[in-house]
């Protein structure tokens, strides 16, 4: 039993370490194995350090969602500029949700009304057996 528990611990550790490790904070608050999709209207795009934030009002129920993403220089390297997310734009955000269920998450990708998709983080959930 202990042996199997230890193996599970090792596998879990490998999984956890496969999450983004070099951000300003731990990603432990996000469930990196899950994705949520929120369609709504951009209320603010905070192009700030240590992280940028996309604030989106959910069209379905009016809830304000707070989505964290990279720092400005990291976003610029991915082609995202301040003008990419103007207030009032309709978007569908694909994100890793906060584990505690509050209205927040870490952006994986953002789909615009024209169908174009901006990928911010790797789409596939981290595999448990990542070496």
């Amino acid at each position: 039993m202990l042996k199997y528990a230890s193996i599970a611990l090792g596998v879990m550790t490998g999984f956890i370490l496969s999450m983004p490790a070099s951000a300003h904070h731990s990603h432990a608050m996000f469930d990196t194995t899950k994705r949520i999709t929120i369609s709504g209207t951009i209320t603010a795009f905070e192009f700030t350090n240590p992280h940028s934030w996309l604030k989106v009002t959910n069209d379905a129920d009016g809830t304000l969602w707070s989505f964290e993403t990279n720092s400005p220089s990291q976003l610029l390297r991915k082609g995202v500029k301040l003008s990419t997310f103007p207030a009032g734009m309709k978007v569908t955000v694909n994100a890793m949700p906060l584990r505690d269920g509050r209205a927040g998450g870490a952006i994986v990708s953002v789909k615009k009304e024209d169908g174009s998709v901006l990928a911010i983080e790797p789409e596939a959930p981290a595999a448990a057996n990542t070496p």
């Binding site: 230890s6 611990l9 956890i16 490790a21 300003h24 904070h25 432990a28 350090n49 707070s66 720092s71």
Partner: protein, 310 residues
């Protein structure tokens, strides 16, 4: 030597020893590390190089924007019997043929606890307090880097927290010991050995190489040999000395790669407190405070001038 002279010298030695003891801070160790081993090695390199500061037009060209990567670190995972093993992956370019840090039992236990805590979902990093990552973690920061070279001083600049390492190459020594204290970037002196900048750094704060990597103590000191090995790569060969964290000096090589996309990318001032709502929860874990919740720091209000209506 006559007896009176010997007694006088003895008294002087006793007074000196007592004075030294009184100067030791009450928390039990000196404020700065013993760096005699790395200093001797550095001085030998300096003697071989001849210590001739280059003319401005003889300095290498390290212009441009660069970035570091934690992928040069040996990340660990726990084996089935709770031992540390180096994790290799396509992303982690720290090849298994390289030697991981020879951690002391105390620091190996720390690294194991970090991994065990993460399995429990407990994960925290002091940089989330908007504390600078500091050196030597500086070397693996994945933010942008820029290098400003002059004959007498080189600035090694990191975008994250606008951290700047000043490397004096004008022949001066380290800060006098009675003026020194632990610094995020340490205290660096150096010299040019051809196109290689050799840097000796002491007076660092304790820290971690990365959240899921090993830690170093405030006794850490380093020798670096930094040079451009190709148009797009600057290499930093570092030897790490740390009598608390390591059982012997550890040599590791980091690389900084040129950022070419977008071509006009600039390093800009970075203030971590501009928009930071990460706090440590009661379990010791990272936690986001969201808009509307108690303690939320609105970034617009954070930067508003005094007198602004709220």
């Amino acid at each position: 030597m006559n007896n009176s002279c010997f007694r006088a010298r003895n008294r002087f030695a006793v007074i000196t020893a007592i004075t030294c003891l009184l100067l030791i801070p009450e928390y039990g160790h000196t404020q700065t590390a013993d760096f005699s081993e790395s200093w001797a090695a550095y001085q030998a390199m300096k003697a071989r190089a001849g210590n001739k500061p280059p003319a401005s037009n003889k300095l290498p060209d390290w212009s441009g924007v660069w970035t570091g990567s934690p992928d040069f670190l040996p990340y660990y995972r726990l084996s089935s019997d709770n031992k540390l093993t180096v994790r290799t992956s396509a992303r982690n370019v720290f090849a298994s043929s390289k030697q991981p840090a020879p951690l002391s039992p105390e620091y190996e236990a720390k690294a194991i606890k970090v991994l065990q805590d993460r399995v429990k979902g407990i994960d925290w990093d002091y940089v989330s307090n908007c504390i600078p990552a500091g050196f030597p973690r500086w070397a693996v920061s994945h933010y942008l880097k820029e290098f400003a070279l002059t004959p007498n001083i080189t600035w090694l600049i990191n975008e994250e927290q606008s951290e700047v390492r000043r490397v004096y190459t004008d022949g001066r020594g380290h800060t006098p010991r009675d003026e020194a204290y632990p610094l995020f970037e340490g205290d660096s002196v150096g010299f040019w050995d051809g196109d290689t900048l050799v840097v000796h750094t002491i007076d660092n704060k304790e820290g971690t190489w990365d959240r899921s990597a090993a830690s170093y103590s405030d006794q850490v000191n380093t020798i670096e040999r930094i040079r451009k090995i190709s148009n797009d790569v600057i290499e930093d060969q570092m030897t790490v000395y740390d009598k608390l964290a390591l059982t012997k000096p550890w040599s590791v090589t980091f690389q900084f790669t040129r950022v070419t996309e977008p071509a006009d990318l600039r390093i800009r001032m970075y203030s971590c407190n501009e928009n930071n709502n990460v706090v440590q929860d009661e379990k010791g874990n990272s936690h986001h405070v969201l808009p509307g919740e108690p303690g939320y720091k609105d970034p617009e209000k954070m930067t508003a001038a005094p007198g602004t209506a709220r």
